[in-house]
Symmetry: C2
Amino acid sequence: MTGLAQLTLQRFLDRLLLRSVLNLEEQSAILALTTQEVSIRSRQDFARENQESSYCCLIASGLVARFGQQNDGSRQITAFHIPGEMADLHSAVRPIGIGGLQALSDVVTLRICHDSIRQLAARYPAIGEALWRDCMLDAAILMKWVVNLGGRDAMTRLANVFCEMTVRYNVDRSGAAKFDFPVTQEQLGEAVGLTGVHVNRVLRTLREKSIVWFVRGIVSFRDWGTLARAGEFDPAYLLADTKPERQRRLLMPI
Amino acid sequence: MTGLAQLTLQRFLDRLLLRSVLNLEEQSAILALTTQEVSIRSRQDFARENQESSYCCLIASGLVARFGQQNDGSRQITAFHIPGEMADLHSAVRPIGIGGLQALSDVVTLRICHDSIRQLAARYPAIGEALWRDCMLDAAILMKWVVNLGGRDAMTRLANVFCEMTVRYNVDRSGAAKFDFPVTQEQLGEAVGLTGVHVNRVLRTLREKSIVWFVRGIVSFRDWGTLARAGEFDPAYLLADTKPERQRRLLMPI
DNA sequence: CGGACTATTGATTTGCGTCAAAGATTGTGG
DNA sequence: CCACAATCTTTGACGCAAATCAATAGTCCG
């Protein structure tokens, strides 16, 4: 087990601990998972829709997009996944049918086989619940994407995505800030349901209004409040259950 | 425990058994859940975004919509829920933050408290996994909604929703068919991100092209293939894992 | 240094929203 | 059982946000 793997598993565990209570035995069980490191070049697809797999992909570095496709081949990005997240934890219990995965930058993933995850969940109910809960966070994000796509204009949609990623990357929002978000304007368009050309125009407007700057993969803003207002963004859905004490344990392990 | 409750729990169990393997003990544990019957009039909201609840709603009859709201108060429907489904199973592990619920017709729900569901999942890992898997089906549907909203024109979007509901209502697709789908045109618009007025126009076009008829809450079509093509619909994501043998049991119950 | 993405800007078209008003249907109370 | 209100549907005229088409500049990489 390499250092990268240990580090990344720890990062994943930390994510879980934000929302769930796990005792030391459970924590070490997660850290002891067997992983297989795989590197993927930027722009590669590494999972296809309707293709069955036998492992989950824990992201060690880089940015990943989940996408669906229209009949004409054009893509709709349905989620971004960042380091420390499982890009397809859901596949542990539902091995097919939830879209493809694409590397937006050079990416390193750790493969963890479905069986070992399911065994862990079965042996330690608290882990099962934590993983289930983690999947539900992804679902909450997805629901917000539907709201974003269904009822807002282009500017609000783009600002909203920048807001989501700011919070998920855990960027300090107390003052001006800046972070990497390595996507092209075209890909941003695929995420928010706009053409690349129009994304470009709207990004200019956002710049002119001093709301956000997006320049070659770097997002920066001067004031979080201004950005959040422009994106009609309320981070509650991302932060919910941040106090894991609320999730009291219902049954002792075996 | 009334007959309606028994019948509905059985329906819910049947749904789970389509995708998961549960032994007899586990099955009866689910059927033995304590429920509280609640009736809701059409057009009532019965759960609000960011409001914590302590129970899940199993739908016994009627149609329910999950929705998010824009700042201006307009709604975006993110899911429809039909009898036999839990409208908010996710809330068992994540009690707040995934949108509101609205009755689209007169509805009867069975409340099942979160603690009893989580205890079941902890005591019977196979049930935990089955519930997790059920949530992931909802997530797969949601992902398809993102694709639908993000990249398709009005006609395709509407046809797609009719396709989804046809399959979920388990309507026979071998010939001409007809089923109840008690929503207004305005609500259809809230689901697919269009105004009611435009929905009306597009429904006319769909009628004129003999693809689907939607008249006052009743959907009918002559040929499934024609409808599915118009909606760019592939039911794989709804049917996936229909053979539960694939989900082999990994660990015996305690 | 050349080739391939990526970003930028302009001109034009179009799908859908908005506003408005008239029918149709359903529900309610007298 | 009728009358009237409320909701839902349908249609028309008009405007606008975003798509499309097209061409020029940057920028990155081998």
